[in-house]
């Protein structure tokens, strides 16, 4: 069954990749079989505009031209290909995941260091390359992925009858799809643990409803509201003020929210209340876990797709030092960028604002959060971004460290220093170092995933909020 499952998954992935090469492109009556030729033609066509438009717009232009020109079996039968790829992979995954039913509670994490995929052997590096390639294409060369967006056009049409799936729609769909499947895996794996079940269903719900469905509905109501995720917040949502909120460098226009009428203003106010009022209150009562492992999309992917790799997070003292420097630097940078944005808004002077906005978006938003954050799951563990890069995590971490009721309580002197907790901590916290001293764990980075409590063979750890 397990083998059959893997075969189905690989067949589905094979078909998925081959769809990129099944279609051909017809332009001015002539058919171009390969992608490279048609992109040359497109490049020639837009060459004269290059001076006046931004690279982002070139990317979007090439994407929509390629999508319009793409013809062939995938375009004619998207549903069939959808079932052969996403459908088949889902079936295969379920066949793999239901094997967890054969394992008892304490057997669920055995063998992670004996399996090649989860112990940094070649399959791990293969996955790493595949993930990186996907992110690079998605962010910078989406026009190579047009057939995949054609595959999900039928889904986009559920929201908007004329809907054409963009590469961001594709990404959102794949994200939700993977979180659904691997969320099922989590629920089966930790079926004996109510905390894990409730947490997994909650984080999945926020992805499906808040990150995927509501934005699509908003976009179909008002095109400029595309991409508004009501649970995402500044400073993780680094362009909340510049792009969506108040001013945009590229167009220098007062934008989306302010111009969106009452509801647009509502989004802006909600976004501010969220990070300025709700975060301190909720982190005080429950710790940052309420967001990081119950609500956040990045966290959601880390807790589902990333669960199999959590033991790869480095828990050395050195890693902790690097982590503190890096994550707080990003927070400072995000704050500086936002201050500059306001400066520009009030004075009209651009200065370095645009430059910083663009480079932050590229380096932090795309390379760090996406390519490294997710791509490196199989090598550095599943919370690289959350640990080393997320400015929101840094902000909540400061509150959690100094002013929160949340802790991982250590049960007296019962610790036997076995190291399971530290090994399986996705944030690389050396949990055992505290547990063996009988000291409760109140670390800034803890996202409250609860797996230390789960893998402890002596029941020494318990997540709780002090009354």
């Amino acid at each position: 069954m397990r083998k059959l499952g893997w075969i189905l998954v690989f067949v589905a992935i094979g078909i998925f990749i081959s769809t990129l090469f099944l279609n051909s492109y017809t332009f001015l009556g002539q058919e171009y079989p390969g992608k490279s030729q048609i992109f040359k033609i497109i490049d020639l066509g837009i060459q004269r505009d290059l001076e006046t438009i931004s690279t982002g717009e070139v990317r979007n232009m090439k994407f929509s031209m390629a999508k319009n020109l793409s013809e062939g079996p995938v375009k004619e039968n998207p549903w069939i290909f959808f079932l052969l790829t996403f459908g088949l992979a889902a079936l295969g995954s379920i066949l793999i995941f239901i094997q967890s039913f054969k394992k008892s509670a304490s057997e669920q994490n055995l063998g992670v260091f004996h399996q090649k995929l989860t112990n940094r052997k070649w399959p791990a590096y293969l996955l790493l390359l595949a993930l990186i390639a996907f992110y690079v294409l998605l962010y910078w060369f989406p026009y190579y992925l047009v057939e995949w967006t054609i595959l999900v056009d039928p889904i986009a049409q559920l929201f908007n009858s004329e809907g054409q799936a963009s590469h961001w729609f594709l990404y959102g769909f794949m994200y939700s799809y993977i979180m659904t499947l691997l969320g099922i895996r989590m629920v089966i794996k930790y079926r004996h643990n109510n905390y894990q079940i409730i947490r997994t269903i909650t984080v999945w719900f926020f992805q499906i409803v808040f990150a995927f469905t509501i934005p699509e509905i908003l976009a179909s109501l008002n095109g400029s509201w595309a991409g508004i995720d009501l649970k995402n917040m500044w400073p993780l949502d680094y362009d909340f003020f510049n792009n969506g909120g108040l001013v945009t460098y590229a167009t220098e226009s007062q934008s989306v929210m302010v111009n969106g009428g009452g509801l647009g203003l509502g989004f802006l106010i909600w976004g501010i209340v969220l990070f300025a009022v709700l975060v301190p209150i909720l982190v005080y009562f429950f710790g940052k876990r309420w967001y990081c492992s119950w609500v956040c999309g990045c966290g959601g992917l880390a807790e589902t797709l990333g669960d199999a790799f959590r033991h790869l997070s480095d828990n050395s003292l050195k890693a902790w030092k690097i982590e503190r420097w890096m994550v707080h630097s990003v927070l400072v940078l995000a704050i500086l960028m936002t201050i500059l944005t306001f400066f520009t808004m009030f004075t009209g002077v651009w200065g370095a604002t645009g430059f910083i906005q663009e480079w932050y978006g590229f380096l932090i938003g795309s390379v760090f959060a996406g390519v490294i954050g997710t791509g490196f799951y199989p090598v550095f563990g599943n919370r690289v971004w959350c640990r080393f890069g997320c400015p929101l995590a840094a902000y909540m971490g400061i509150i959690q460290r100094f002013k929160s009721r949340f802790r991982v309580t250590v049960n007296g002197d019962q610790c036997i220093s076995c190291g399971n907790c530290s090994t399986h901590c996705e944030m690389g916290i050396d949990v055992k170092a505290y547990a063996q001293k009988g000291q409760d764990i109140q670390r800034a980075s803890c996202v409250g995933c609860g797996i230390c409590e789960e893998v402890c063979p002596r029941g020494v750890l318990k997540l709780e909020n002090k009354k």
Partner: protein
């Protein structure tokens, strides 16, 4: 500067070193022949089962030794010249000490029967034992484990993980019979059997047979079991071979007073290898537990660091273990059979169970064995110290529970069952922050 040498880098030896350093600037040398760095012995099973790597079992980072100026010597002690205060090592130069702490731990006990030296028969205690087992892990298909105690069930679990067929040979009439009651023995045995393990009670191995490698085991009842591996887990004994025929006074272990002093001045013994002349409370003369090793190391280190000789005071008894999926926690002395004048309250539901003892006359809470129900150590510790009554324990079960968030709660049921069985009227109190309960 005083030179303190510790033989053994286990939990006792390293803890002693830490507490010496906290209180003194003495030169500290730690000798071990087993491993370069201190590792957690209790985690060996998880290394074998691929849940952690060996390096994950190090309780302290490697720069811990530098930071605390602990000099590590990776060598075997051949002998000790006590009058000359000199330790003779196998590979490197001799070491002269001013104070010596012996923390040499245990070694697996042997059956002393025919064929025991055959390849494929071993115990499970040291790093070397683990390595031996790792080397032949793929060749093990049919195994027996002899000895129904804590290491026994761990080894059974490891072999089961590896996919071997396992026969579990237990001399007594039940699993861990010296500690568990009959009901508890059956409870654990049923769970082990549900994993496909065959348990043989009241059974012993008479001899092994094989050519070089073990092939068969013969039992006292006349059974012949075909095997390719046999684990001997009938307990451990002090690792003191190299100290025999010296001035040091030994019995089963190294004889020590309440402050770990041996019969030779400036020589002390702690942990598994120490035998207490006057055991505390009703504790064993030789304590072979992780936490007692830690407590002894701590007291030893404080004494030596401060130049004091405080007696060892381990506080109320507790313990914990795990048998496959069943987590076991124990607070207070709960003997395997209820003693005269004790009342027993047993509660069981599905895979959860506990047995609680209290004094029939005074109502004083004596102790609890809990299976798959977690309780707070500090709270029970406080109750045991203050000799509270059983009703106070039951009233505060909500606060004493250490079960995870959102887990199903059983306190109401438990208290109702207690009231019914003993004709009481205990009312369950609201949950409070546990530290408030203790300071009260």
């Amino acid at each position: 500067m005083k030179h303190i040498v510790i033989i053994g880098n286990g939990i006792s030896g390293i803890t002693a070193a830490r507490y010496i350093r906290k209180n003194s600037d003495a030169q500290i040398t730690i000798i071990s022949a087993e491993s370069q760095y201190f590792f957690s012995r209790t985690a060996l099973m998880y290394v074998f089962m691929g849940q952690v790597r060996f390096e994950d079992t190090y309780p302290y980072d490697q720069d811990f030794y530098q930071k605390n100026r602990l000099e590590l010597v990776f060598d075997r002690v051949e002998s000790i010249d006590f009058p000359a205060k000199t330790i003779k090592l196998k590979a490197t130069d001799s070491i002269v000490y001013d104070e010596l702490i012996l923390a040499t731990g245990s070694k697996p006990r042997k059956l002393n029967i025919e064929g025991e030296k055959l390849e494929g028969i071993q115990g499970l205690y040291s790093k070397q034992d683990l390595e031996k087992l790792e080397n032949k892990r793929n060749q093990i298909q049919k195994a027996i484990v002899v000895g129904g105690g804590l290491i026994g069930v761990e080894l059974v679990e490891m072999l089961h993980y590896q996919g071997a067929e396992v026969d579990f040979i237990i001399r007594e009439s039940g699993f861990w019979a010296e500690v568990l009651s009959e009901k508890e023995q059956r409870f654990i045995e049923e769970h082990i059997q549900s994993k496909g393990i065959r348990i043989h009670l009241n059974e012993e191995i008479k001899s092994f047979d094989g050519e070089g490698k073990v092939c068969q085991a013969f039992t006292k009842s006349g059974k012949k079991i075909e095997i390719d591996f046999a684990g001997i887990t009938i307990g451990v004994e002090p690792n003191i071979e190299f100290l025999k025929n010296s001035e040091l006074e030994l019995q089963e272990g190294i004889l020590v007073d309440e402050d770990f002093q041996t019969n030779i001045p400036n020589v002390y013994a702690i942990g598994d290898c120490a035998e207490h002349r006057n055991p505390i409370q009703n504790r064993n003369k030789i304590e072979q537990l992780w936490y007692t090793g830690k407590l002894q190391g701590k007291q030893m280190g404080e004494n030596l660091g401060k130049g004091a000789s405080k007696k060892y005071e381990p506080g109320p008894w507790f313990n914990s273990a795990k048998f496959f999926d069943i987590e076991f926690q124990n607070y207070g002395f709960v003997s395997n059979t209820k003693e005269e004048g004790q009342s027993e309250f047993i509660w069981k539901k599905g895979n959860k169970m506990f047995r609680l003892l209290f004094d029939s006359n005074t109502d004083e809470f004596i102790g609890i064995n809990a299976f798959n129900l977690k309780f707070r150590h500090p709270v029970f510790n406080d109750w045991l110290r203050n000799k509270v009554g059983v009703e106070e324990v039951l009233q505060n079960l909500k606060t004493a529970s250490f079960d995870g968030e959102f887990s199903k709660k059983y306190e109401g049921e438990i208290v109702r069952a207690f009231n019914q069985e003993f004709g009481r009227n205990v009312q369950l109190k609201k949950k409070m922050w546990y530290q408030k309960l203790i300071s009260k």
